[in-house]
Amino acid sequence: METLEFRFDSKPASHAADPALCGVVGSGNLEILVKPGIEPGACAICIKTSARGFGETWQAVLGSFAASHAAGGTLIAINDMGATPAVVTLRLAQALAEYQGGAQ
């Protein structure tokens, strides 16, 4: 297991609803929890992953997500079992859309 923590600037999320949970912790998959954070203009992310040594890839994937989505004011917790960047990106988009409760 490896634990990684990141913080990215991001436009404020449009709507803070209840926490949203997306995905499952299974091989090649991951679970994402989105809940309200502290800073409106930033997204804080904590990852627990079974695959060690991919810190740079996580940084790139999450940085790209925070730049292309309005995810400010959120705290995102991820439990990962070796998901590919494709799965991570899709799950993040799904979890954020769920958190915003229908707002696109």
């Binding site: 890839t57 790139a60 994937v61 790209s64 292309s68 590919t84 960047p85 494709a86 799965v87 990106t89 899709l90 988009a93 799904q94 859309a97 769920e98 696109q104």
Partner: protein
């Protein structure tokens, strides 16, 4: 004036007569007893012959292949094999046991590693790796077989053959051989007094043998919907909305991967919701993919012509004769040569997958230490410059590629890949393994499956790159990097240039296409298991046991 040189003009016919006389002198009639097949092969095949051993990725003349491999290399040697596929262990045994030493073929799937080893040991000389159509073409020019060993479903007493749904390559092979002084030997699964229909007339066939067991057929085109991932669903949504709908693609071919299986299973749901029924995917050159059943049952599909059949689909096909090509007896007639021709010239789109793609868009499924070949993908996945008839999709693509005053259209050739394969192996690379393979094999060209200049679109989980709209090699490269995700070549993109390409609609993200990521779940698949497919078919689809988990 010079006197013409004296020569015999019927040496092929004379050779054929001598071979048949040798067989007759051993007491052989048209029907060969199974335990004497080796005697027959040794009587009619001569050293140095060009021999076609029928087999493709579906039907295999496996009994004749094993029998030929068991012949004496003292009697039969220096054979030059011309065959679609090198798939069975006995195909490679021919070379290891010294019966054959030269090979012209198309595809070598499971025997790719053994073949590479034989080439490195210089025990086999490869003439060329072809596409199916090229090889069939050469059967009628410079690679005409002296002897063809084929597989049929049934023979009658005269030697007429019924090929069953897996007609596949047989017509092309038999026609080339029988009309150029060659010998045709067929293994059959059964002898019947009256055939359901005659696919090959008896006077094109010299000998038949009842094989000890039915010829092997590989269920190569069955994709279990249970294994389709949500990322594949997302990519299928992008392809349908961003390519199928925008070009109005009605005539097409799909590859055999899970990516395109996902598209097939999204037609009755996502595509129907977009109002695309009747507007896309009506006419297909495609094997009878079980994952197409829901689209057929939903009324999306008008016609499907097949290269071969698929295990378990026969009853369903027979019951859907408006859609599939079937004989008066009710069973399907496939034909690889004609379906490949349809894929090359009559389809507006090919969409398939690959293992590697470089920054020029060249793609390859070759990996080090394996010679795999191409099969039909390069025919389908190329823009045929010989095409002259127009269609809306072809014209739109042509205008995008060549401008508003284009005097030709353009086939859509779409590569659909996730940016990483299993074990985080990147699909997008600076240099294809094909180049290293070329060096290690001493080949004249790297084994590139689809050339970059034929590719029109690339679909990944990150988005769609439209290469038709790129105007410079630099734009093409950045468009490819722009959908290469978090692979090293994707991370090395020029971000400003990719954003510029995005502004021009050359690179499009799911959000640019108005795709809600929350819909990208397996719930969107019309069938989520093989059992669902059986249900859609009204119980007519009978999947092979390895796909039954209930």
């Amino acid at each position: 004036m010079n006197a013409p040189l004296p020569r015999d003009w019927d040496t092929l016919r004379q050779s054929r007569t001598r071979r048949l006389e040798r067989a007759a002198s051993l007491g052989f009639g048209k029907e060969i007893p199974v335990d004497r097949i080796i005697d027959l092969l040794e009587a009619v095949i001569q050293p140095g012959d060009r021999v076609c051993l029928e087999g493709n990725n579906q039907k295999q003349a496996d009994f004749l292949s094993e029998s030929l491999a068991d012949c004496s290399p003292e009697r039969i040697n220096h054979l030059s094999m011309v065959q679609s596929v090198l798939a069975l262990p006995s195909h490679v045994d021919l070379f290891e046991r010294g019966l054959a030493n030269r090979l012209d073929f198309s595809f070598s799937g499971p025997q790719g590693a053994r073949l590479a080893k034989l080439v490195q040991e210089q025990r086999i000389e490869i003439g060329a790796i072809h596409t199916y159509l090229e090889l069939f073409g050469r059967y009628f020019l410079d690679l005409t077989p002296n002897v063809a060993l084929i597989a049929a479903q049934a023979a009658d007493a005269e030697g007429n053959l019924y090929l069953g749904p897996n007609t596949e390559d047989t017509p092309a092979i038999v026609e080339a051989t029988a009309f150029k002084g060659g010998i045709v030997i067929a293994q059959v699964n059964e002898r019947l007094e009256k055939l359901p229909r005659v696919d090959v007339p008896a006077d094109w066939v010299d000998f038949t043998v009842l094989a000890p067991k039915a010829n092997y057929i590989e269920p190569l085109f069955t994709r279990d919907p249970a294994q389709i991932t949500e990322v594949q669903v997302l990519m299928a949504m992008m392809a349908i909305k961003g390519i199928y709908a925008e070009y109005g693609v009605t005539r097409l071919n799909h590859g055999i991967g899970f990516d395109t299986a996902a598209i097939e299973l999204l037609l009755p749901t996502y595509a129907a919701d977009l109002g695309l029924k009747g507007k896309i995917c009506t006419h297909w050159a495609l094997n009878p993919h079980p994952t197409l059943i829901p689209a057929i049952e939903s009324g999306f599909v008008e016609s499907v012509h097949c290269f071969g059949s698929e295990v378990g689909m026969d009853a369903y096909i027979s019951a859907r004769s408006d859609v599939f090509f079937t004989g008066a007896d009710g069973s399907m007639r496939s034909n690889r040569a004609f379906s490949q021709t349809a894929g090359l010239y009559a389809c507006d789109m090919f969409i398939g997958s690959t293992l590697q793609m470089d920054m020029a868009g060249n793609s390859s499924t070759a990996t080090l230490g394996r010679i795999t070949g191409f099969g039909g993908a390069p025919n389908m996945g190329s823009d045929p410059h010989g095409r002259r008839h127009a269609s809306p999709a072809w014209l739109k693509a042509g205008r995008e590629a060549y401008g508003q005053n284009a005097i030709r259209g353009r086939k859509l050739v779409v590569q659909m890949v996730e940016t990483f394969r299993e074990h985080m192996a990147p699909v997008f690379v600076e240099e294809l393994d094909a180049w290293k393979l070329q060096k290690s094999m001493g080949a004249e060209l790297p084994p590139i499956m689809i050339y970059g200049d034929d590719v029109s679109h690339i679909v990944t989980e990150e988005g769609i790159a439209n290469l038709l709209l790129c105007r410079t090699p630099e734009e093409r490269e950045q468009a490819i990097r722009g959908v290469a995700g978090f692979t090293p070549v994707g991370m090395a993109r020029d971000k400003a240039m990719v954003e510029n390409l995005r502004d021009r609609g050359i690179v499009r993200r799911p959000e640019d296409l108005g795709i809600d990521p929350r819909l990208a779940t397996r719930d969107l698949l019309a069938a989520r298991s093989v059992k669902d497919l059986v249900r859609w078919s009204g119980g007519l689809y009978a999947p092979p046991s390895r796909f039954r988990n209930w």
